[in-house]
């Protein structure tokens, strides 16, 4: 049916407020903090840095390796490498494991107790042990990120298989399908939406843990930049590190969001 088309818009104030709000936030931040080297009634620059100074520092750090030993690009690249290696490994191990645990009682019986033992430990608590095992190189950080990413992968894949419509399984049984055939042609497709949900959750977990892992033991990376800034007493570097981590996290989140909605659109007709 063809209907007349109209455009309904939100009130002007409601559309403007978000921009005003963000602008006010940055303006207050800018003017409530003293410029470097100046001490007046405002928040001293040893506690907080103005957004403009942070931006200037960011531009400078694109090429300057001092005082922390690497450019901003290098730090970001190292962090991404660690996060994505851990993330991909978590997906590769966690999703198949969760799927198998959901359908085959033997896998469930063997894997579940160990999973339940390890699950309550926050990934951060693995740091000391991983330093024993891997030192402070890439391996240890990847291991911690892997641990934090694998938990949502297993849980979502497991629940996804559990949510398979039992009628579909019974239907397949009446056709004489084998357990393996039912698993691959019914359970896995049914679990896909939950699995895609895990892609996003796991990445968020990985990114949070990355910062924790780098805070403690590393020589490069955005988390290291933050720690180094604190050790050097350079608040501007700390703030730059935080902003970079947040920004990179937001960008990665957006990309995964896009991918997920594309993939899901493919599944749901």
């Amino acid at each position: 049916m063809a209907f007349e088309t109209v455009k309904v818009r939100k009130p002007l104030l409601l559309r403007l407020l978000p921009f005003l709000s963000v602008a006010t936030f940055f303006l207050v931040w800018e003017f409530a903090v003293s410029p470097p080297g100046v001490s007046d009634w405002r928040i001293p620059s040893t506690l907080l840095t103005r957004p403009s100074d942070t931006l200037l520092l960011a531009i400078d750090k694109l090429t300057n390796v001092n005082p922390d030993g690497a450019t901003l690009g290098t730090h970001a690249w190292v962090s991404m490498q660690e996060a994505f290696t851990g993330y991909i490994l978590a997906l590769l191990v966690g999703i198949p494991l969760g799927l198998l645990m959901g359908w085959f009682s033997a896998v469930r019986g063997l894997a579940r107790p160990i999973f339940e033992l390890v699950r309550p430990i926050p990934p951060i608590a693995w740091i000391p042990l991983t330093i024993f095992w891997f030192g402070i190189g890439l391996g240890g950080k990847v291991f911690i990120i892997w641990i934090s990413g694998i938990v949502p992968c297993v849980i979502n894949a497991y629940i996804g298989v559990g949510m398979t419509n039992p009628v579909h399984i019974q239907m397949a049984r009446t056709f004489g399908a084998s357990d393996w055939k039912i698993f691959t042609s019914i359970c896995i497709p049914s679990a896909l939406p939950m699995v895609f949900g895990a892609l996003q959750i796991a990445l968020a977990y990985c990114w949070v843990t990355l910062v924790g892992a780098e805070l403690l033991a590393s020589d490069q990376g955005l988390g290291f930049l933050i720690t180094m800034g604190r050790n050097l007493g350079r608040t501007d570097i700390v703030i730059l590190g935080m902003v970079s981590v947040g920004l990179a996290g937001a960008v990665i989140g957006c990309i995964i969001d896009r991918i997920e909605s594309k993939l899901l659109a493919g599944i749901r007709r």
Partner: protein, 285 residues
Amino acid sequence: MSDTAASVCNEVIVRGPAKRRITLASVLRNEYFLNTVSLLLFFGLWHWAAASRVLGTSSALATPFEVVVRLQELFTSTLAGLTMWGHIFASLRRVLIGFIIAAALGVPLGLIMALNPYVNAVVKPIVDIFKPMPPLAWISVAILWFGIQEMPKIFIIVIGSFVPALLNAYNSVLLIEPELYDVVRVMGGGRWNEVKQVCIPASLPAISAGLQIALSSAWGCVLAAELVSSRSGLGYIIIQGMKVSDPAMVLGGMAVIAVIAWLMSRAMDALDRKLCPWRREIKDL
């Protein structure tokens, strides 16, 4: 399997459940048996790996027995002036203070944002700016601002549990079936009754789920804060274990951390059942 009924003419024959025969295959499929095997394998491998030093030096891993012995020592003797109980108490105190502050701020703010589009238009963009920033990234700034005492740790915990508490409360209100408000409206209830009779009870389950996430996030945050700088707490125990190359202490600390995390999630489940008794039979996952 279950009872089988076959109808012959008008006669109904009911057979009892078939007797279970114990065969090799049935034992291998029994989950309790498999669970036992799994745990035995896990601890066996752990013991073997630690005893045979496959990971290299003697400080890489301790056997389960060493961990138990070390834990007993930690509970009876003191480390940095506190027994294990003292360290547990120190960590729990920080978590609870931070968690309660975050919940008391985040849940009402989330509800107000969902109910008032103007508040939402102002606050949501700011929340969205801070949301992708991992709570642990705040540790350095917190230390610069508040020194190394209790404040920075509680600050990190508040940051870490505030966002899940707020977002769950916010989303739960948006997901309420709009017709439920009509029920209140047709019976003459105004805006306040819509909030009191529908919004708050309908969003309680999701708020409670959000608080559960917030609490587990808070537990991770307190450990991270204690790892970075502290003289007490479970995070201090495991980092101290690392510094003195004592894997038994690290693993013992991790075990206590896991047990407390598990107990906290049990406690939140119990609270959830208390708050939302109507879901007793619905939720089972």
